[in-house]
Symmetry: C2
Subunit: 338 residues, 2 copies
DNA sequence: TTGTATGCGTTATCAT
DNA sequence: ATGATAACGCATACAA
C-alpha cells in the first residue's frame, strides 16, 4: 500500500477486487460490465468503504456540479429563504451550493466571482448591488433582481404588478388617499418598479397618492416628518401606505402607532416580500408575496439549461397578496402557501 | 493551442511567458523566482486572465479548503443567522462553505455526509437530529447543540445557564408563580438543558413553577388547555412564562392575548434564541440571546485546528438576557449587539 | 467484455 | 535558479 491513512482510491478497489482500474470506473458510473465482475467490485467498494473523489471527477470532466450563490447574507429573512430554495433546487439536480455572503460589499462581490471561477463552478447566481460587476462570458450567470445586460438573464418577481396590486388592494379596502414609502438603493434594479406599478394602480383607480422616498443610509426620521406634515388634529389625511418592503412596513406600523394612530383601523399598511415570523408562521404584515420557490427554480433552470439559444433577458414571476393583520380584511383571505 | 474556448491553464501561461511550467507554479504560489521571470509570468497571467484551478490543487494537496454545513434550512431565522456567521468565519480563513440543507430529514442527513466526503471537504459542521448518524473518523466533525460521542466536539450555548437566567429574571421582575413551556424533540440534546436550568433557577429563588412539555408534532392546543386550567374568573394564576424558543414565545403571547390577558402587564414571557425582526431590528420578545457569532467562530476554530490533542467534547458559550417588550423592564436594558 | 495507457491542471522532486 | 517529469484520482479511447 502506497498510502497509509488516506481514503481508498479506485486503484485500491481494483487491487482488492482483482480487476482493472477501468472496470471499477465503469461499475461506479453504472456502465454495463460482466455480472461476476460487478459483484466483486461492489463488494470491494463496500469493504474498503470507497467513495469517488468528485474533485478528480471534476478535473477530468471539467464540470464540478457546483453553483456559487452570491447573496448579501442568509440572516435577513428574504435572503435566507431564497438561499434555502435555491439550495433545494440545486440539490434536487445533484448540484451543490457554494455559499458566498457578500454583505453587499462591492469589492467583496468582485472578489468572490474570482473565487467562484477558481473553483470552476458550473455557474453563478448573483443577487448583487455592484453596478460595475465584471463577470466574464466564460461562465453561466443568472442575476436576481437586477438586469446586467442582454447576455445575462435576470429573474425577478413582477414588481410592477406587485405595486399595482398593492394600490388596487388599498383602493378596494376603502382608502381615500394613500402614500408610497420607499427606502433603498438608487440602483436601477427591478424592485424599483414597485413604485411605478403603484403609481399606475393609483391612477387607474383615481386614488390620490403621495410619495416619500429616501435612500439607503438616510435617516428614517423623514418618514415621521412626512406623517406629521399630514396630520390635522391628531388625524392623518392618509389612510393607506404601501411600503416597498415588509421591513419598512414593520417600521411604519410602529411609527404610526407611536403617533397614536391605529393600524389597520385608521391607516392600512401593505408591505412587500411576504416575510413570515420564524420563516413559517404568520405574515408580519399584509403584504405582496414574492414567489420565492418559483424564483429559485427559475434561476437554477435558466442557469443549467444547456441550450444557450433561449436565454430570456428578463423573467418576471407573478406575485400574490396576503393578509397579515395590517389591512382591513375578510378572514377568508388566509393563505397557507410556503 | 490544444484547447479552444476553455479556461487557460498553467501550461498556456508557461508557453505565453516562454518559461517552464514549474516556474509558473512558483510565481503563483509566491515562491521566490528570478525577477525577470516573475515579471514575464505575471504579465502572461494578466494577458490570458489566468486563474488557478483549485480542483486540481485539491487533487494534489488532498485538501479542498471547503467545509460542509449540515443544517435543517436557512429559512428559519436562527439557522439562517448561524449559517451566515459560520460562512463569515470560514471565508475569513479562506475556506468555502458547502451548504447542505437537510430539512431535518435523517436519511437526507446521512446521504449528505456521503456527499460531503465525496467532495473531500476538509471538515463538516453539523446541526442534526439523527441520533444514529454515522460519521466515520476520517473526517473532522463538529456538532452543534447535540453531543455525538467523546470524539466529536459539541458546541452549544450555555443552555442550562440560560434557563436559570430566565427563572431569575422572572423572579426579579416580580413573578410569583411561573411556567415552563417546551416543544421539541425527545432527543437528548443540549437545548433540553434549558428546562433543568429553569427548574434550578426557580428552586434557588423559591419561585413556584409548573411545566407543560409537548413533543414535536403534537398539537399546541395543549398549551391553551394548560392555561385554561389555571384560570380563575378571567385571571391567570401564573404571571410568568419561560418558553423554550422565541417561536414558542411568540405563539404563547398570541394565545395569552386571545384569552384576554395582557403581556407583559398580566403575564410576562421570556423566550430563547434572540431572534430579531428582519435579522437586525427589534427582538421579537424578551429573550435569552444565543451568542451566534461566537458559536460560529468556535465551531470553525475547533474544526480547523490541526492539533488533534485538545478537542474538548463540549463547549458551552455564555448567553445574555435581552429586553424585547414581553417583560416589565426598565428602558436602560436596551441591547444593540448582533 | 476487460485491461491498458493517456491526460485533466497542479505541485513537487529531481537533474541541470 | 530553472526546466523536465512524475504523481494526485479518475475517465475514456483504444488495444487485447
Amino acid at each position: 500500500m502506497k498510502r497509509d491513512n488516506s481514503a481508498p482510491t479506485m486503484k485500491d478497489v481494483a487491487r482488492e477486487a482483482g480487476v482493472a482500474l477501468g472496470t471499477v470506473s465503469k461499475v461506479v458510473n453504472g456502465i454495463p460490465v460482466g455480472e461476476s465482475y460487478r459483484i466483486r467490485v461492489e463488494e470491494a467498494i463496500k469493504k474498503l468503504n470507497y467513495q469517488v473523489n468528485s474533485y478528480a471527477q471534476g478535473l477530468k470532466a471539467n464540470k464540478t456540479y457546483t453553483v456559487a450563490l452570491l447573496i448579501p447574507n442568509t440572516r435577513e429573512p428574504f435572503f435566507g429563504l431564497l438561499a434555502y430554495h435555491i439550495n433545494l433546487a440545486l440539490l434536487k439536480r445533484k448540484y451543490r451550493l457554494l455559499l458566498l455572503s457578500t454583505d453587499s460589499d462591492m469589492a467583496q462581490e468582485q472578489e468572490y466571482i474570482t473565487m467562484a471561477k477558481q473553483n470552476k463552478v458550473d455557474g453563478i447566481i448573483g443577487l448583487t448591488y455592484n453596478p460595475d460587476l465584471v463577470v466574464e462570458e466564460g461562465i453561466p450567470f443568472v442575476s436576481i433582481d437586477r438586469s446586467m445586460g442582454a447576455k445575462i438573464p435576470c429573474v425577478a418577481s413582477d414588481n410592477f404588478a406587485g405595486g399595482q396590486l398593492a394600490a388596487e388592494k388599498l383602493a378596494d379596502l376603502g382608502c381615500k388617499k394613500v402614500a408610497f414609502f420607499r427606502v433603498g438603493s438608487v440602483l436601477n434594479n427591478e424592485p424599483n418598479k414597485r413604485k411605478a406599478g403603484f403609481e399606475n394602480g393609483c391612477l387607474s383607480r383615481s386614488l390620490p397618492y403621495e410619495m416619500k422616498i429616501i435612500n439607503t443610509g438616510e435617516s428614517y426620521d423623514e418618514f415621521e416628518r412626512f406623517l406629521l406634515d399630514h396630520m390635522r388634529d391628531g388625524k392623518l389625511e392618509i389612510d393607506g401606505v404601501f411600503c416597498v418592503t415588509d421591513g419598512l412596513a414593520y417600521f411604519t406600523c410602529k411609527l404610526l402607532r407611536r403617533l397614536g394612530l391605529r393600524v389597520p383601523e385608521d391607516v392600512q399598511v401593505i408591505g412587500f416580500d411576504g416575510i413570515r415570523y420564524f420563516g413559517n408562521a404568520d405574515y408580519i404584515c399584509s403584504t405582496i408575496v414574492q414567489p420565492v420557490p418559483d424564483l429559485a427554480e427559475m434561476c437554477v433552470e435558466l442557469l443549467l439549461q444547456e441550450s444557450m439559444s433561449a436565454k430570456p433577458p428578463l423573467v418576471c414571476l407573478p406575485v400574490t397578496y396576503a393578509y397579515g393583520g395590517t389591512t382591513l380584511e375578510s378572514p377568508e383571505e388566509e393563505d397557507k402557501g410556503e
